[in-house]
Structures are given as structure tokens and as C-alpha cells.
Symmetry: C3
Subunit: 467 residues, 3 copies
């Protein structure tokens, strides 16, 4: 399989030394930092037997592992298969979609364990980790996967690793501000994960604007089977989203409620997406792009409020609206963003994560502001919003205000952070491809011969080679 033609790239995409260097150096850094800082939390440590006695627990089943591990695995699937395969819709970028997502997420979770650990699990000089930390690390990386969606096909793996390094850092700072300083509730991450991740990614792709991108327009579409691969990603995201939104909620009713709300919202979202996908197309045919993406907006849009008493019908309303907004976004906003604002958003994360994320933040603020002791019960009210300690005197309407502030902070962090990181990624040292070679796996991957090549047919023992 000789490939004689010169690649004719204006840019140097040679990765041989740069990529290994970055990967290895960073992994060594992780090992050193983990060595200094990271230890098992009490529930994963062999001292647990003694701990159990001290905490007066009678059974091993009280270990947080059994409350959260199934949800963790669902979230894990969403990050690696969900996001990875969702992005395989491009006809010639399946390896990059699933492979680079794998790379950045595997690095990101290590760095997130450290960053989030310093902020939230730091005790006596050590970060003590358990299953909840693993979930939070996956969450943090989820915001990077979202941003990856905006720049999919236009960046080198090194750029992705650099972006991951910075975005995980900024995510953790933003999360700390929201959860600890503003005392905001955001268990499913409408603000911290989706709003932040999406506007961060959109800002980065704006900075990295490629005026000649239409040179690779023929590769920006899908083929029949790549759309089916993408549906694997879609469905796993859709099915496991109830686990995502409930994974770190309080034990008991809160986890239970989050799952139900999310289930309802997502179901409604599918119907309105289908409706608008057909309605907005002259021939009335359904568009796979909408089905693959806008059906998920319902999960994003209840990310903040799912653990609150949003109620099942409230979830249906939120899901319905977000499906509509997202589909309309794909039809009208994405072209507008590209032509007018020079925001080239490969996967349409503005429609799937940015707008629904904002909706989610707002719905969360309203739901919090509308909370009453009657609806939650006296104890449930305090527990749901953690109105204890210094927050004992917070009222629902004040909480609503802080929730709204959380949206603004996330947006500011995303814009500022995205601008800085975009600037860094624009440096001509990271090995990104020329415009005409975007959306093409051949740049960074050994690509096998095509399925149509002669070799494929010649040796079917039952069949002569097709003429």
C-alpha cells in the first residue's frame, strides 16, 4: 500500500517527538504529584474496618461504593463511548473522534483528580479519593469533551492535551467558586459542565477561526454508517443521563428524584426534536444531525434542577423546550454563528450544550427560588439546599439569586479562559493541519486501505472479483 503522493501540507503535522514528549512528561508529572498528594479515602482504605466501627456502621453496604459505583460506570461510559462515538459522525474522522477523546479524557481525569482534590478533598496535606472523586473527575473531563466538539477535526492531539490541561484547571476554579463560595447547587452540571464547557470551547474555536475551512467541506459531512456509529454515542448519552444527573446527589431520595426528572425530560425532548427536525426541513424529512444531538438537550437542561422538586411535568416542559431550542439552533444559529461571528462549531455544541446549559442554569435558579418547606418538608428543605452552618439563614429567593450569579460567573470564566487558551493554541508550534486537511484521519493516524480497494474483493472464496 504505497502512498507515493506528497502530502502537500503547508503545515508541519509531524508528531513523532512532540506528542510522545508531552504525553510522557505529563504522565511523569502525574505520578510525582499523585505520589506526593493522593491517598485512598477512608472508605477505600484497608483501615475501613476500624473506620466502620467508629462511624457506627453495621454493614459494608453502607460504603459509598454501593451508593455510587453503578452511576459512576454509567458516567464513565458516557464520557468515553458517549462523547467518543457521538463525534464519529464525520466520514473520515472516526479515529480522531474516538481516539483523541480517549486520550484527552484519560489525561484529564488524572489532572482533575488532583485539581478537584486540592479544592474539595484535601485533608492534612493529602487528597483522599473515593468513588465520588472518580465521578467528579469524569464530570470535569466531560466539559473538555464538550469543548472538543467545537474544534473537532481542526486541531492536533497536542493542542487537545494543552487545552485539557488548562480547561480542567479553570473548570476546577469555577466549580470551587460556584459550589463553595456561592454555595450553588449544580449536581448535574448545567452551569459548571455544560455552560462553562460549551462557551469555553466556542471561544477557543472563535480564536482559532480558519477562513479557508471550506477547502475541507467535502469531509465535514457524514456517510451512512458513520451516522449509525454516532447513534451509538447518542443513545448511550441519552440512556445514562439519568445516572449522570443523579451520580453525586445526596443519598436516597435526591438520587432517586434526579434520575426520574432526567428520564422525563429526555423523553419529552425526543418528541419535540423529531417534530422540529421534520418541520424545519422543506421536504419534511428527519435530519440525523438533530436526532443525534438535540434529543440530548433535555438532559443538559435539567442538570441543575433534577435533584430539586422540579416534578415530572416540570421536567417534561423543560425537556420539550430544550429540544425545540436545540433543533432550531442547528437549523438557524449554527450557520449564523459561522458566517457572521466566525465561530466554526463542528458538532454544534452551541445547540446541544451552550443554550440548553443556560436554560438549565435558569431553570435551576427558578426552581430553587420557588422552593418551600411545604413542598420539600422541613428536613428535606434544609437537606436539599444544604442550608446549614453559615447558610442557615439563606432563603429560597436568595438561593435563586446565587444560582443566577453562578451562570454569570461560569460565562465569564468561559469567555476569559477560552480567549487565553485559544491564544495559546494559536501558537504555530502545536502541529495542527492545514485547512484542506481538516476532518481527515490520515494526518495523525495510520489509516487502513479503503473498503473499496481491490484487495477487499479479490479473495472472497465464494465469489469472483467484481469486474
Amino acid at each position: 500500500m504505497e502512498r507515493p503522493r506528497h502530502q502537500g501540507m503547508a503545515k508541519n503535522t509531524y508528531m513523532r517527538w512532540r506528542l510522545p514528549l508531552v504525553c510522557l512528561l505529563w504522565e511523569v508529572a502525574m505520578i510525582v504529584l499523585f505520589g506526593v498528594f493522593v491517598r485512598f479515602g477512608a472508605e477505600a482504605d484497608a483501615h475501613w474496618e476500624e473506620e466502620k466501627r467508629e462511624m457506627n456502621l453495621t454493614s459494608d453496604i453502607e460504603n459509598d461504593f454501593y451508593f455510587r459505583y453503578p452511576s459512576f460506570q454509567d458516567v464513565h461510559v458516557m464520557i468515553f463511548v458517549g462523547f467518543g462515538f457521538l463525534m464519529t459522525f464525520l466520514k473520515r474522522y472516526g479515529f480522531g473522534a474516538v481516539g483523541f477523546n480517549f486520550l484527552l479524557a484519560a489525561f484529564g481525569i488524572q489532572w482533575a483528580l488532583l485539581m478537584q482534590g486540592w479544592f474539595h478533598s484535601f485533608k492534612n496535606g493529602k487528597i483522599l479519593i473515593g468513588v465520588e472523586n472518580l465521578i467528579n473527575a469524569d464530570f470535569c473531563v466531560g466539559s473538555v469533551c464538550i469543548a472538543f466538539g467545537a474544534i473537532l477535526g481542526k486541531t492536533s492531539p497536542i493542542q487537545l492535551l494543552v487545552m485539557t490541561l488548562f480547561q480542567v484547571t479553570l473548570f476546577s476554579v469555577n466549580e470551587y467558586i460556584l459550589l463553595n463560595l456561592l454555595h450553588v447547587k449544580d449536581a448535574g452540571g448545567s452551569m459548571t459542565i455544560h455552560t462553562f464547557g460549551a462557551y469555553f470551547g466556542l471561544t477557543v474555536t472563535r480564536i482559532l477561526y480558519r477562513p479557508n475551512l471550506e477547502q475541507s467541506k467535502d469531509k465535514q459531512g457524514s456517510v451512512y454508517h458513520s451516522d449509525l456509529f454516532a447513534m451509538i454515542g447518542t443513545l448511550y448519552l441519552w440512556m445514562y443521563w439519568p445516572s449522570f444527573n443523579s451520580a453525586i446527589s445526596d443519598h436516597g431520595d435526591a438520587q432517586h428524584r434526579s434520575a426520574i426528572n432526567t428520564y422525563c425530560s429526555l423523553a419529552a425532548c425526543v418528541l419535540t426534536t423529531m417534530a422540529f427536525s421534520s418541520m424545519l426541513q422543506k421536504k419534511g424529512k428527519l435530519d440525523m444531525v438533530h436526532i443525534q444531538n438535540a434529543t440530548l438537550a433535555g438532559g443538559v437542561a435539567v442538570g441543575t434542577s433534577a435533584e430539586m422538586m422540579l416534578t415530572p411535568y416540570g421536567s417534561l416542559i423543560v425537556g420539550s423546550i430544550s429540544g425545540i431550542v436545540s433543533t432550531v439552533g442547528y437549523v438557524y444559529f449554527t450557520p449564523f454563528l459561522e458566517s457572521r461571528l466566525h465561530i466554526q462549531d463542528t458538532c454544534g455544541i452551541h445547540n446541544l450544550h451552550a443554550m440548553p446549559g443556560l436554560i438549565g442554569g435558569i431553570v435551576g435558579a427558578i426552581t430553587a427560588a420557588a422552593a418551600t418547606e411545604d413542598v420539600y418538608g422541613k428536613e428535606g428543605f434544609v437537606k436539599a439546599f444544604d442550608f446549614t452552618g453559615v447558610y442557615q439563614t439563606r432563603t429560597p429567593s436568595i438561593q435563586g439569586g446565587f444560582q443566577a450569579a453562578g451562570i454569570v460567573v461560569s460565562l465569564l470564566m468561559a469567555f476569559a479562559g477560552g480567549a487565553i487558551v485559544g491564544g495559546i493554541l494559536k501558537l504555530p508550534i502545536w502541529g495542527d493541519a492545514a485547512a484542506e486537511n481538516c476532518f481527515e484521519d490520515g494526518v495523525y493516524w495510520e489509516v487502513p486501505e479503503d473498503e473499496e480497494s481491490d484487495a477487499y474483493h479479490m479473495h472472497n472464496p465464494d465469489k469472483p472479483a467484481s469486474p
Copy 2:
């Protein structure tokens, strides 16, 4: 990508106003009905803290969420990925298989929450939902997915939504008769889900008989990769079936036992399927259609009895037989049904769900009739069959009789319901395609250019375009 040629369809498949109208109207109806009726059950409500005290529960882990949520997620995967991808085997109907399954299931679970809620979870004017309701809604929709298998490729999305509306309704009535009036046990749904769903679907497809279907015969087969996509569906159904049959069994030993019985039955089924697939083919080669479908019959056939003391070897026997029956069905019955009875059964649900469902009902009746206090223990016996209250005096043999009656009722409901619904779907207003355009995504979907088109090759940077 201009598509100049006129579609030449005799029928009007234009969906632009009809599909959005149905989707949006129904979603609004769902919102209104949920608003009036649906609330969180005690274990998902913020009042849970108080409830817990009243119920004397010491730990959040006693919340039903932790008993059933992992099984729920497995069932969820079966409905959306399992059934969706199982039906992608057709070479040009992958979008329809996975997309329409997505649409009807997302609508169906909402309507099922209401219908089943009115029958089973109605208290003081409200339907109180929890994780068990989500599972039951998925189960109910499972029966619609089964019926979809019979009419796959021959119906419009509106027809599917109409069928879903009626079938969910009838399912709930039938389920109420069986579980509440006849006091029948059917945790894995051999009767309520499989027998009912399959004979309902077969009746519908009989009514919708298309005499000229051979005009689209060339699209009724698979291609190499579509068979692999279908195997994703098969394997997820196969692997998670133990969760399906145990998802709503009693806590403790019953869930445990159901999983083991199902695991055993499915394992045996694979071997007999492979054996007969090879044996019934002149060249002795294995047929993917059998592997994709008949290997699952073992799960169907222990649906009623899995939670009973069927025993592992009993499960192996049931699984072995159902694999044989199902494979023989694909080879001999399906062509017979089509040519003689005019039942066009795209996915062969008669072999995968109808016959194994009947086997499941019968095995359940026998297993119940054979139950003794010796085998179950005094308490276990009462608990397994809920022989309490008005049923305190029921004997195993009477229970067996009622189980058998459940099969008959399910069949009658399926035939009568299927005939009526089939008649409704025959109205010429739903936008189904002409015979020559069946099994073709292009009718209802925007389909991307083919993989073989020139554009695909021209821009591989490493390679000249193939001549």
C-alpha cells in the same frame, strides 16, 4: 448533492406537517396529564427523611432506588440500544430502525407511566412514581418494540406513534387483568410483554398485508456491516436479559434467582441455536439471522418462571428447547406465514417472541403448579406467589390454571387489539410508503451521500484518488 429524479411514489409520504403535529400535540397532552396526575413517590420525594423515620428505616440504602436502579439502566439499554440496533440489520433502514425505535419508545414510556400508573400507582388522585414505574414503563414499551419488528420498514413514523398509543393502552389493560384480576406471576413478561406484543404485531402486519412487497426485496437483506451493527443489539439484549427478568422481582432471593435462571437459559440457547442454524442449511454454514435472534429466545422463554424455583438445569432445558424452536421457525415458519397466511414479519418476531413467549407462559404455569412448600420453604412459598389476603387459599395447581388463563387472555387481547389497530393504521392518511420504497431510509430521512461516492476518495491526503 442534487437529487433531481422525481421520487415516483404512488403514495404521499410527506411528513412536514403531520409528524410535527402529532408529536407536539401528544407531548402537550403528556405535559397536561402529568401536571394533573403524576407526582414523586415517597422514596423520590424530598419528604423521604420523614418517611424513613415512619417506615423505621435506618439507612438511605433501603431506598428502592438502590435495589433496582442498576437493573433499570440495563433494561433501558435493552429498549433503546438492544431493540434499536437489533433492527439495523437491513442494509438501507438503519436510520429508521434506530431512530423510529427511539421515537416510539420515548413517547411510549411517557404514556405508559400514565396508563400503568392509573392501574397500579394511583393514590388520592395522584400517580406516585419511583424507579419501579420507570422499569415498568420500559417493559411496556418493550412490547411495542417487539410489534415494531413485524412491521419494520413498511410503516410511517406516524403509524408507529398511533400504534404505540393504542398498544400501550391495551398492554396496560391486559397487564391489569393478568396481574391484578387473575393474580398471575409474570415478572419477566413472557405473557404480558412477549406473547401479547408479538401476536399484536403479527395481527397488525397481517391487516397491513402488502401483496407487492417483493418489489423491495433487494432491500430486505443485510450487508456485512449492517449485520455487525445488529450484533450490538443482540449482545446487549442477551447480556442484560438477566436484569430484565429480575428487575421487578421481589427484593433479595427472587431477584437473585431470576438473574441466575435467565443467565443459564440464555447460555444453553446459544448452543442449540448454533447447532440448528448449521444443521438446517444445506452447506452447513451459520446464518447471522439466527444468531442475531434465536439466541435470545432463552430469555423470553423463562420470563414467567425465572423468579420461581425453576432451577438451573430447568433453565438449561427451557433455553435449549426455545433456541431450537426459534431457529426452526426462521427456516420453516416465517416463509410459511408469509406465503400462506400473508403475515409479513420483517424481523421474525414470531420466532423470537411469539413462540418462545408461549413456551414461557406454559413453563411458568407448570412451574407454578409444581411448587411445593418443601421446595420454597413455608415463608418463601407464600412470598413467591403472594398467597396472602384473598389469595391465601390458592393452591399451586389453581395458580397454574390461572397462569394458563393468562396466556389465553393475552392472546385474545393481542388478536382483537391488533385487528382494530391494524384497521386504523390501514387508513390512507398516515403517509406510509409504496411497496417499492419499503425498507428504504430515503423516504423519511435525509440520507447522506453514499460511501462510494467520489468525494469520499478524492481528498485523502496520503493517496491519489482511485482511478
Copy 3:
């Protein structure tokens, strides 16, 4: 679709009577043996209510089902989808990869339930099974799936069934020696599953050496979409490996810790694999073979030590090293093994399972030898290594020695067993294909027409047939 050309095979691959005979006879044997020996364990038996009282358990949640069932399902997915799809990378052997894996695993788990049951769950003449037995049966079959990787594409389904029969038997003996006689810890099976399975498979493929295999060289590669299918397998193995290594660990901290260690090791492994994949290739491009396989070595390499106090940074180190070793293996060792030692290792299991398995055994021995009461706590120390009863006086260093002995025993069992079984499989009665027909589904499967055939294009209603 006539297939006129004679197949020109030197060998008789006709399966029509042989395969059904083997499948049916063996399934009957399973039924008889299950009938004689296998019963439900206490936690799955209807007598559980009484048992619960005797064991002083207050809640059904204490049933082992709830501790292990989610992990069991993850392991189940790894065996059937993970291994099955990982091997679909070959362009023309997807049916065989996923279908034969399905067949051998479905048979293997039944036989493993018996074999392992006799050794470990035999009470009063009966094998009492529960969810832990199901996990162990899946584990045992995992070692057969590994061996299958070495001979993929070169063997008939009957050979695979014969190999499964013997390998499961030998696995169970080896496991008994390690766990019961040597009192070795190996929860994730670095030694029992990976080292044993891989060297067994490598020995078998050595015995079955095919000097003319280059005749089917053109089918030994992948195509674009087959590489994406394989990534489904890779990712499910990668994501669920924490469940694999923790599935049968002690309740509580041990399960929790195993999952964390494995998560960390796998994350690190991805980075070093990517680094070396790029570094070892002249053009610096990433190779899908490495990404699909070497990224998993981190899970193998902590299989023994994950439940010990390996610590997160220890896991990062082990994962990093195993990624490097495995990738280097694919580049340098695999060609060497083939050309010099005549070991034709289709999937490169030497790199993914053999070497990382050895690393895992060694790391386990060191971690055990280094254990102190200070690190584990007094109770934790005894519990972690089961230093009770006759093992009360064992010291960590002695335990380390026994761990090392476990590696040696596993290797010896693998070589001896593989040689014998390889010899049996070499008999000319099993129907394997000639060298030029290896890696070709058409030999044992009905293969649908190719996607490129004319029929595929002719009937798209929107589009004229391409000229």
C-alpha cells in the same frame, strides 16, 4: 446472488453434521450434570427468608446480589461485547470474531459453573451457585477469549469448542492450586486469567503453526469501519475493567480500592501507549492496533494487586510501564515471535495479556511482600490476605513468595496444557480452513452480498443509480 466459483479449499470445512453434533451432545451433557449437581445457593433460594433470620440479617440489601450484580453485568459486557468486538478489527472476520466468541463463551460459562463449582462451591454433593459463581464463570471464560485471540481466524468453531472444554478444565485446576493450595491472592486474575490464558493460547497457536499463512495476508488487516467496531470492544473493556478487578474482592473497602487502582492504572496506560505508538512509527502517526490493545494493558497489570494497598500513584506507575511494554511488544516482539518462534498471534495477546499478566503477577508479589500492619491496619491486614486459620502465621514476605510461585505454576500449566490441547486440535478432523481461506467469514458463515454491489445503489428512490 449466485456464487458459482468453486471454493477451491484443500480442506473439508463442511460443518453441517459435526458442529450440530458437538453443540447438542455437549448441551445435553450440561443439562444432565446441572440436573445432578447444580442448585441455588442460599441467597438465591426461596428459603432465603429463613436463612436471613438465621444469619441475623435485617435487610434484603445484605444479599450478595446487591454487592456484586452491577459488577457482574459489567464483566458480562466485557466478555461478550468487549472481547467479541475487540476482535472484529479484521476486515472479513467480523462474524467469526463476534459469533464464535459468543458460542465459546456461552458454552464455557456452563462448563465453568460446574468445574469451578466442584472445586469451590461443593456442599453435600451439590454445587450451590450465586452471583459470585456467575462472575467466576465469566472470568474463566475470559481466559478462553484471550487464547481465542491468538488463533483468531485460523480455526473452526469445533476446534474452539474443544479448546474451551479443555481450557476451562485446566483453568479450574490451576485456579484451585493457586487460590486454595498456595493461598495466593489474585482477584483480578493477572495470573489465573491473563498469564495462564495468554501463554496457553500462544502455545496452542505455536503447535498449530501454519507455514503458508501469508497466502491470506491481504485479509489480516483492517478496514476503516472494522477499526471503529473494534474500538467499541476496546472502550468497553477499558471502561469496565475497574469492575472486573473489583468484582469478587471482599465487600467494602476492597472492592472500592480495586476499582480506584484500576481506574488510575488504565488512565496512565493510555498516555504512554499513545506516546510510544507515535514514537515508534517513522511518520509519527498513531496506530489503531496499539490504541485498541495496549491501552488495556494497565488493567491486566494491576489484576493481582488492585485490591491491595497499591496506592493510586503505584497504579499510575504500573499502568505507565505496561502501556510501554505492550506497545513495544506490538512493534518489535510480534514480528519476532512469528518469524523466529513460529508463533502466529493474530491479536497480539502476547503484548496485551501475556507480558502485562506477568507484570501483574510480579507487582502483586511485591505488593504483598511489602504489606505492613501499619499500612493496612491490624484488622485490615488479616482481612486483606486472609491470614486466618492455617495461614495465621504467614508473613508478607512468605505471601510474596507464594504469589511468585503462583506465576510459575500458571506458566507451567499453560505450556503443558497448551501443548496437549494444541496437539488435539491438530488432528485433521475438526474442519479448519486452508491457509488461503483463513481470516475469511465465508468459510463458516452465510455472508451477505457486499455493500458495493449494484443492488445497493439501484433503488435509492431519491437518486439515480451511479453510472
